[in-house]
Structures are given as structure tokens and as C-alpha cells.
């Protein structure tokens, strides 16, 4: 193709001297090679963008295969899986206690992190003056978001579990998770509040409303879908976290917790414990657990996306 265009151009090239000069000028450029480079680069960046998709597909394939083998070869009964607690005997083991523990962890984490997080976001967006302290808080927040989750687990282990001596209870686990997701909730709530146009606030002030009335009755309701989306995504992250719960000290055989002061093992920690067992039966139980956990995570993400799309144009 490049050769053709080259040849076509030449007859219109004018006098022989002009043509010569033009040929001299572009003599060192191999057009075919340039086009090839162009295509190679396109291929390279396309491969880069596909990398994540392929990795996810492979992961899903691996998990689903193990899940299928678990159901067929090891005859893992899904009914039993969802209704009984863990056991040392793989044929008697279930996931019920872990699911309940994870739901309770999520609820407590939501309560612990939501109000503080949204409160901090309101302060930072609506009240905080632009001074050094505010900038310090903001810098701190972005740093906190980058702290590895196991560090929060260690903090809670040292301060709560051993320090105060509450032991490895569910509440301690949810404190660790709440600390972990707090920065995410604050940042997403800040963004949602920032997205409320100033005109709406000014309209509220114009009717004589105070700042608090404006925030409570105008800003927060408009920002709430965004805040909730961020919170759900943050909780989805929390429910999948293993390291902080292991640090706090999760059970290795899950039992249904009856309150926040009971010992517990969440879904990820039970999967971790099963995956470390020598028996293949346990390893396939872990695969079934992963499918359950992934399903819950994906549906939480789907709810978040739905909320975002539904309210995207509301303001």
C-alpha cells in the first residue's frame, strides 16, 4: 500500500530536479517499516489492555472448574454448604457460619465507618478553610488509603485484641475493616458532595436557610446516591479482605457467631483455612466458597453501578 502511494506521487512531482530533491529529503525513510511499527505499537497496547481481561477470565475459569469438580466429584451439597458450619471432616463442612459472620462484619463495618466517614467528608467539603491543617488532613487521607490492610489488622491486634484484651472477637474484626475502608468512604463522599452544583446551595441560602439546613436538606440528599455507591464499593472491598481478619485472629473452623462479641471466621478467612488443608476435598470446598464470595462481591458491585447510573442525571 505504501509503495503504491509512493509511486503515484512521483509523476506529479514536477521537474526532475525537484523530484531529486524530494527523493533526497525522504530517502532515509522506509515507509513500509513505519507502517509496520505503527501496527506493532497498536497490537502492543491492545495486548496490554487485554491483559487484565484475560487474567480475570483465567481466574474465573480456574475457580469455576474447581467448583464444578467439587460439586460433581466430591459431591459437595450446596444445601449443606449453605446451612451448616465448618468441620474438620470435609464431608460435614459448610460455609454458613462464615457467611453469617461476613454479613455481621459488613453491617458493623458500615455502621462504624459510614457516619464518621460522611461526617469527615462534609466537614472537609463544606466547612474546612483552605489552610495548612486542612491540607494536612487531606494528605493524611490519601496516605491512609494506601496503607496495606494487614497494618490495620496489626493495629487492632495490638490496641484492641491484646491491648484492651477483648480477644479475637467479631467487633475487633469490623473495627479493622472500618479503619481500612474509612478513607475510601471519605474520598467518595467528598466527590459526591463536590458534584452538587453551588447554584443549588446558593438557591437554598437565598430562601434564608442556614448552612446546616442547606447541607441536611439540599446537599446531602443530592449527594446521597454517590455516597452510597462509594460506601457499597468500600464494603465490597471490606468483605473480601483476609489479612486484617487473620491478624485479629479468625477461627479456622467457622461457627455461627451470635453477636459482635463472639469468635468468628469470615468467608475469606475460611477459604484461606480450607485452601491450606492437605485434603483435596477441602481445597474444592474452598473453590465453592470462592464462587459464593465472588458472586456476592459482583452483585454488590452491580448494585453500586446501578445506583450510580440511575442517579447520574438526577442533579
Amino acid at each position: 500500500m505504501s509503495d503504491d502511494s509512493d509511486r503515484k506521487r512521483r509523476p506529479d512531482g514536477g521537474t526532475a530536479t525537484e523530484r531529486n530533491r524530494g527523493e533526497e529529503l525522504f530517502a532515509d525513510i522506509d515507509l513500509r517499516r513505519e507502517h509496520l511499527k505503527n501496527r506493532a505499537f497498536l497490537g502492543l497496547i491492545f495486548a496490554a489492555s487485554m491483559f487484565g481481561v484475560v487474567a480475570l477470565a483465567l481466574l474465573l475459569l480456574d475457580v469455576v472448574t474447581d467448583f464444578y469438580v467439587g460439586i460433581t466429584e466430591f459431591e459437595i451439597s450446596l444445601i449443606q454448604f449453605f446451612t451448616v458450619d465448618g468441620s474438620r471432616r470435609p464431608e460435614n463442612a459448610g460455609f454458613f457460619g462464615a457467611i453469617i459472620a461476613s454479613v455481621m462484619l459488613m453491617a458493623l463495618t458500615a455502621v462504624l465507618s459510614f457516619f464518621v466517614g460522611v461526617g469527615a467528608a462534609i466537614y472537609l467539603e463544606e466547612y474546612a478553610p483552605n489552610n495548612r491543617i486542612t491540607r494536612l488532613i487531606k494528605a493524611n487521607l490519601s496516605n491512609l488509603a494506601g496503607v496495606p490492610s494487614i497494618v490495620y489488622g496489626l493495629l487492632v491486634l495490638a490496641a484492641l485484641v491484646n491491648g484492651i484484651g477483648v480477644g479475637p472477637i467479631l467487633l475487633a474484626g469490623s473495627v479493622a475493616l472500618a479503619l481500612l475502608v474509612m478513607p475510601i468512604i471519605i474520598v467518595s463522599a467528598q466527590e459526591a458532595i463536590r458534584a452538587v452544583p453551588d447554584g443549588v446551595r446558593n438557591g437554598s441560602y437565598a430562601t434564608g436557610a442556614t448552612k446546616w439546613q442547606t447541607i441536611r436538606q439540599v446537599v446531602l440528599p443530592s449527594a446521597m446516591p454517590g455516597i452510597l455507591t462509594g460506601t457499597i464499593l468500600a464494603l465490597a472491598r471490606a468483605i473480601g479482605e483476609t489479612a486484617p481478619l487473620l491478624m485479629v485472629g479468625a477461627l479456622f473452623v467457622n461457627r455461627t457467631p451470635f453477636g459482635p462479641f463472639d469468635r468468628f471466621s469470615g468467608m475469606p478467612t475460611q477459604i484461606y483455612a480450607w485452601a491450606a488443608e492437605p485434603s483435596q476435598h477441602f481445597i474444592h470446598l474452598a473453590a465453592v466458597g470462592i464462587v459464593v464470595l465472588l458472586t456476592i462481591l459482583l452483585s454488590m458491585n452491580a448494585v453500586a453501578v446501578y445506583l450510580r447510573n440511575k442517579y447520574e442525571t438526577a442533579v
Binding site: 453491617a107 458493623l108 446521597m224 452510597l228 451470635f258 469468635r263
Partner: protein, 344 residues
């Protein structure tokens, strides 16, 4: 700017969001009101157990059976390794400690420092298997000297190829896989084979998960390693991995780790007793709970050990265990006859 148009949207949004918050709160409050019932003494409560990655399954299985009999009991077994477990046990953070070796001098000192008084039951026997890949057709047995040659500290960087062990073995790199220093298996192996606890070359792949060792050896023809026998038994039928017969320090013959050779004592030195240590202060605090568990464990240790792929300690050990429990209970002023679980 048309606030009147937006108001309805806003109202719904806010109500919805408030409802969500209320819902979440209600779930949490419901959770809080659950409480953990059954603290009124008797056989109820939580027993914290730390210790060996190898022995934990036996203790955990004992705990599960115990909890089946006494539903208000939870036996929380954390399998962090014998060494790491003693660090917890000797700081009085756990009442029961599973151990795949005896307590070391440093750990005795740590326990004394924290006034932790303890004693142990012998709950079973384990074999340490020396493993190779099934594709490995050159190694038919291994002497104790050869094991030492490969694994001692001085082997670091020296014994790197199979041909360094015996000349007729291939000129291929050795891929070594074994437990890390947190484990009792590690301490036992280094003491029995290399002569000193912790004497090991520093260029092997160390892991805290024995099934990783087995998986690695099954996946590489030139791999060589060792680990708890139970882990080998679980995968040897499906994966290309097998045990290597090891020289016996009893009669110089080579034996495979099997129920017979281990319970007879000919698979030696790589068969070892497994222990459950009990904190006597915890026993004094809750004699019914801890005492019942100890008695229950001793009654059925042979069964639990075999269920978990280990080997039963001889009958006289069971008798010794029971006598020990009697003396513990008497020492804390509790009559063994009052115990809800009696000797079987």
C-alpha cells in the same frame, strides 16, 4: 435552577438513603443483642488452642467432637506452628498447645518468666516422610549420613546437584523444599538428622505450609524434601510423589514410613511423638471445662490421631495420660471424680 422540579427526586432519594441507613443499623443492633450465652460455669466457654500445624488437626478434631457433646464450648485452634504456638502458650495466651516436639530450653525459660505452669499429654505418633518425585528413578533409599550431608548448614552452596550425593546420580540441580523454622517438624528434623536444632542450609525453599512442599516435589523431577507424613498420604495416590525409604538407627535397614514401622518403632529416628500441652493455670481457673477437654482428648486420642492420618500412641501412653490428668486436677484441688467426662 428549578428547585420545585428537583424536590420530589430529592425527597425520595433522602428517604431511601435514610431507610438504608436504618436498615443497616437495625441489622447491627440485632447482632449486638445476640450476646454469647452460656457463661454460667460448667462445661461452657472458649478454649484457646495454639500450636503445631501438624498436630492442630488432631486437637481441632478433638475440639469439634467435644463441642458436639457440649454445645456451649468452642475450641479455637490456631495452627501457627509449634514454635510460634509456644510463644503464645508461654505468654498465657492459649490454654492448650499442640506440639510436634518437646518444649525447648528457651521456651521453658519464657514460660517460667510468665509464671506459666504446664504439663503435656502424648496424643499420637507422626512420621516425617522424606519425599521425591515419582519420576526420580535413581534414588532408591537414603542413609542418615546422606540426609545430613544434604540438609546441614555446611551444605549451603556445596551440595547443589544430585551427583554431589552419590556419583551415579544425575548432574542436575537439587530443588530442596522443607518447612520453615516456625515448625516443630523443622526442629525435630534438624535435631535428629543434623544434630542440632536449627542447623540447616539456608538456600532451600522454606514454607510454613507442608502441602506446598508436597506440591512442589510432585511438580519437579529433581525436587527433594521432607514433611509430615499425613500430607504425603493425602496426595500420593493422585500426584507423582513418593516416600524414600530411610535408614533406621535401630537396625541399619531401610524402611518406608508406614503404620507398622512407625508404631513398632523401626521407622526411626523420623517418627516422633505428638503432644498436647495444657496450661495448669487455665485448668485451675476452669477445671470443669479444661479438665473435661483433657479427659475427653485422652480418652479418644488414638481414634482422633488415626482419623487425621497419624498413628496411635500405645495403650500404656493412654494410661499415663489419664494419671497425669488426675494429678493435675488434684493439684488444683478438684476431685477427678466430679469431672463431667470420666475415664473410659
Amino acid at each position: 435552577m428549578a428547585p420545585s422540579q428537583r424536590n420530589p427526586t430529592r425527597g425520595i432519594t433522602r428517604r431511601k438513603s435514610l431507610a438504608t441507613i436504618a436498615g443497616v443499623g437495625a441489622v447491627a443492633v440485632a447482632g449486638c443483642m445476640g450476646g454469647n450465652g452460656g457463661d454460667e460455669g460448667g462445661v461452657a466457654g472458649t478454649i484457646d488452642a495454639s500450636g503445631s500445624n501438624t498436630v492442630a488437626p488432631i486437637t481441632s478434631w478433638a475440639g469439634e467432637n467435644f463441642a458436639e457433646e457440649f454445645p456451649d464450648v468452642l475450641v479455637d485452634v490456631a495452627p501457627e506452628g509449634t514454635g510460634a504456638g509456644f510463644q503464645e502458650f508461654c505468654r498465657a495466651n492459649s490454654a492448650v498447645q499442640s506440639a510436634s516436639r518437646e518444649i525447648s530450653d528457651e521456651e521453658i525459660a519464657l514460660c517460667e518468666e510468665n509464671d506459666v505452669d504446664y504439663d503435656f499429654l502424648e496424643v499420637g505418633l507422626d512420621g516425617i516422610s522424606v519425599v521425591k518425585n515419582s519420576e526420580n528413578d535413581w534414588m532408591e533409599e537414603v542413609t542418615l549420613d546422606e540426609l545430613r550431608m544434604v540438609w546441614e548448614f555446611d551444605a549451603t552452596g556445596e551440595i547443589t546437584q544430585w551427583s554431589d550425593i552419590r556419583d551415579e546420580y544425575p548432574d542436575e540441580d537439587l530443588q530442596l523444599h522443607a518447612r520453615d523454622s516456625a515448625s516443630g517438624t523443622f526442629d525435630y528434623f534438624t535435631l535428629e538428622i543434623n544434630g542440632e536444632v536449627g542447623d540447616i542450609r539456608d538456600d532451600y525453599s522454606a514454607t510454613s505450609q507442608t502441602n506446598e512442599i508436597m506440591g512442589a516435589v510432585a511438580g519437579d523431577q529433581y525436587a527433594f524434601g521432607w514433611g509430615g507424613l499425613g500430607y504425603l498420604r493425602d496426595i500420593e495416590d493422585d500426584e507423582p510423589i513418593e516416600a524414600v525409604p530411610v535408614e533406621s538407627d535401630q537396625d541399619g535397614e531401610f524402611y518406608l514410613p508406614e503404620q507398622e514401622t512407625i508404631e513398632e518403632g523401626t521407622y526411626s529416628p523420623l517418627a516422633r511423638p505428638l503432644f498436647a500441652f495444657f496450661n495448669l493455670a487455665s485448668l485451675e481457673e476452669e477445671p470443669e471445662l479444661i479438665g473435661s477437654f483433657a479427659r475427653f482428648y485422652a480418652n479418644r486420642a488414638q481414634e482422633f490421631a488415626r482419623d487425621e492420618g497419624f498413628y496411635a500412641a500405645p495403650d500404656e501412653v493412654t494410661e499415663q495420660n489419664h494419671d497425669k490428668i488426675d494429678s493435675w486436677l488434684e493439684s488444683v484441688g478438684y476431685s477427678p471424680d466430679d469431672l463431667p467426662v470420666q475415664r473410659e
